[in-house]
C-alpha cells in the first residue's frame, strides 16, 4: 500500500503522479478515485498529464484513450492495456494497493 495524497489535494478532474518503478497516476474522475500505470503503453508519456473525460484519460502525446476502470485503450495508437490498481481511502488519505503488482513481479 502506498500513499498517494490527501483527498483534499485531489479535486474532481485532477490527477497526481506517484514516482516509483513503475510510476502510478491517480485520478479523481467525478468523485471516484482510480489508479493506473502512469506511463502510456504506446510511447513515453505521463498519463497523469493527460486529459480526463468521464472515466477515460487521453494520453497527452498521441491521444490514445484509456478506460480508468480497466486500463484498456479505446483507440490507436495504444494497443496494450495499462495496469490498474485498487484505491483505498482511509481517514481522508488516498492509498494505492500495489500488492497485485508485486504478485505479478
Amino acid at each position: 500500500m502506498i500513499t498517494a495524497c490527501a483527498v483534499a489535494d485531489l479535486p474532481i478532474g485532477e490527477s497526481v503522479r506517484i514516482d516509483g518503478d513503475p510510476a502510478i497516476a491517480v485520478f479523481n474522475a467525478d468523485g471516484e478515485f482510480y489508479a493506473i500505470d502512469d506511463t502510456c503503453s504506446h510511447q513515453d508519456a505521463s498519463l497523469s498529464e493527460g486529459w480526463l473525460e468521464g472515466c477515460f484519460v487521453e494520453c497527452p502525446l498521441h491521444a490514445a484513450s484509456f478506460d480508468l476502470r480497466t486500463g484498456v485503450p479505446t483507440c490507436l495508437p495504444a494497443k496494450r492495456a495499462v495496469r490498474t490498481y485498487p484505491v483505498v481511502v482511509q481517514d481522508g488519505v488516498i492509498y494505492v494497493d500495489t500488492g497485485s503488482r508485486e504478485a505479478v513481479a
Binding site: G50, P60, A63
Partner: protein, 384 residues
C-alpha cells in the same frame, strides 16, 4: 459499395481501414502498400528507433488486420476512376467501388547526391535502418535542414556521441512556424547540446571519394568534412501515379472540404491530401495527427457518396528533441503576436500563445503537456 481499395499502408491507410469497419462497412477491403512492412509508426524512426532503444517489432501500429486483404510490397501504378480500376505493379487490375488515396510522399533529396553513399533521407523504416548502419562509432554527421526531422536526427546523433553539424539556409530555424523568438530557442537547443549550427547559409556542393560522401561545401566556401549527411528538407506528395487519371493534382490530390476528390468515389487522406478549407484555400498537412484524423471524415463521406462532413484539423504536432518535448496546436504560422503565458523559455518549460488580431490561434508548449492539453481544447476553430 462492395469493394474499397486503399492505396497506401501507413498510418492514414491503416486508419482508413479501421474507420471503414468502425463505420459499418462489411465489404471487401484491399490495401495496396508499396513497402514490404505492415503499417508501422514513423515518428520513432528519428528518435528511439534510430537511437537503438526501440526495436522494429514495437513500431507495429496494429495487431488487427480488420479483415482486409493486405497486399504489401505491391505498388499502385495507375488508376482509372471512371471504372474504379487500379493497375498494380504485379500486373493485376483491381476493381473497386471506392478508393482511398493514402500514398503519402517521398522526401526531397539533395541535388547531386543520388549516387553518393553516406547521404540519407529519413522517412521509411528502411531509410532508418540504412542510416543506422552508417552511424559507425566516431562518424561525423552533417544534417541539412533544421526543421523537425533535422532537429530530431541531430539530437539522436548527439545522444549517440556523434559530432554533428546542422546546416540551415534560413537565418532562424522554424521561423515560419514559430516566429523569430521561439525559432531562436530551437537554435539554442542545438547549441546547448554541442551541435555546430550553421544558419543562413546553403549547401553548394558535396565532396566525395568517387563513391562515398566525404564533405559538404557551403555557399560561403566553408568545407565541412563528414562521414554521413542527412537531408531533412521536406517532402513531395506521391501523386505521380495519378497522372492521366482525371483526378485534379496540384502539390497533392485536390479535395473538397471533406477530403473528397473531384470524383465522389475517391477520397484522399494524410500527407498526400490537399483539401479545401472553409475559407477557400487548399492546404496539405504533413503530420502524424492529420493522417490519423482525416480518415474519420474521408471514410464517412466515401460511404455516404457525398460530402456530408467537413474536416477540421487540430493542427497538433509534437517533437522530442534534446530531452525536451515540444507540442504545437492550431495555427502558429502567421500570428501577429506571441506571448509566453506560463513558465519561461529559459527554464525550458513554458506555454506560448500565438494570436492574430488579439485572438488565440495557436499554442506551443515545451515540457508542459498538462497545461497544453487543457489550452488546446480552448483554442477557437482556426480561420485560414
Amino acid at each position: 459499395m462492395r469493394t474499397v481499395a486503399v492505396a497506401g499502408a501507413s498510418l492514414a491507410g491503416l486508419r482508413s481501414v479501421e474507420e471503414l469497419r468502425k463505420q459499418g462497412f462489411d465489404g471487401r477491403i484491399v490495401v495496396i502498400g508499396e513497402e514490404p512492412h505492415a503499417p508501422y509508426d514513423r515518428p520513432p524512426l528519428s528518435k528511439a528507433f534510430l537511437r537503438g532503444t526501440m526495436p522494429a517489432e514495437e513500431l507495429a501500429l496494429s495487431d488487427d488486420d480488420f479483415g482486409a486483404e493486405w497486399r504489401l510490397g505491391v505498388r499502385a501504378d495507375q488508376i482509372d476512376p471512371s471504372t474504379g480500376s487500379l493497375y498494380l505493379s504485379t500486373g493485376e487490375i483491381l476493381r473497386a467501388d471506392g478508393v482511398v488515396i493514402a500514398t503519402g510522399g517521398r522526401p526531397r533529396t539533395l541535388p547531386g547526391t543520388s549516387d553518393l553513399a553516406g547521404v540519407h533521407t529519413l522517412r521509411t523504416l528502411d531509410d532508418a535502418v540504412a542510416l543506422q548502419a552508417d552511424l559507425l562509432p566516431g562518424a561525423r554527421v552533417v544534417v541539412v535542414g533544421a526543421g523537425w526531422i533535422g532537429a530530431e536526427v541531430a539530437s539522436t546523433c548527439r545522444a549517440l556521441g556523434h559530432e554533428v553539424t546542422v546546416v540551415e539556409a534560413a537565418p532562424v530555424p522554424m521561423e515560419r512556424a514559430l516566429g523569430p523568438v521561439l525559432g531562436s530557442l530551437c537554435a539554442d537547443l542545438h547549441a546547448d547540446h554541442g551541435v555546430d549550427l550553421r544558419l543562413g547559409v546553403g549547401v553548394a556542393s558535396f565532396a566525395h571519394n568517387g563513391s562515398r560522401v566525404t564533405g559538404v561545401v557551403l555557399r560561403d566556401g566553408t568545407h565541412l568534412p563528414t562521414d554521413v549527411v542527412v537531408a531533412g528538407i521536406g517532402m513531395e506528395p506521391a501523386t505521380g501515379w495519378l497522372a492521366g487519371s482525371g483526378l485534379a493534382v496540384d502539390n497533392g490530390v485536390l479535395c473538397d472540404t471533406g477530403c473528397v476528390t473531384s470524383i465522389a468515389s475517391v477520397v484522399a487522406v494524410g500527407d498526400v491530401a490537399r483539401y479545401r478549407t472553409a475559407a477557400g484555400s487548399h492546404v496539405r498537412h504533413e503530420h502524424w495527427t492529420n493522417a490519423s484524423e482525416q480518415p474519420v471524415v474521408a471514410v464517412r463521406n466515401l460511404l455516404a457518396g457525398a460530402t456530408v462532413e467537413t474536416f477540421r484539423p487540430s493542427g497538433y504536432v509534437w517533437s522530442d528533441q534534446y530531452g525536451v518535448r515540444l507540442q504545437l496546436a492550431g495555427e502558429t504560422g502567421g500570428a501577429d503576436e506571441v506571448a509566453v503565458i506560463d513558465g519561461s523559455p529559459d527554464d525550458r518549460r513554458f506555454v506560448a500563445e500565438f494570436r492574430r488580431a488579439g485572438r488565440p490561434v495557436g499554442l506551443l508548449a515545451m515540457n508542459n503537456a498538462k497545461l497544453f492539453g487543457r489550452l488546446r481544447r480552448q483554442l477557437t476553430a482556426p480561420v485560414s
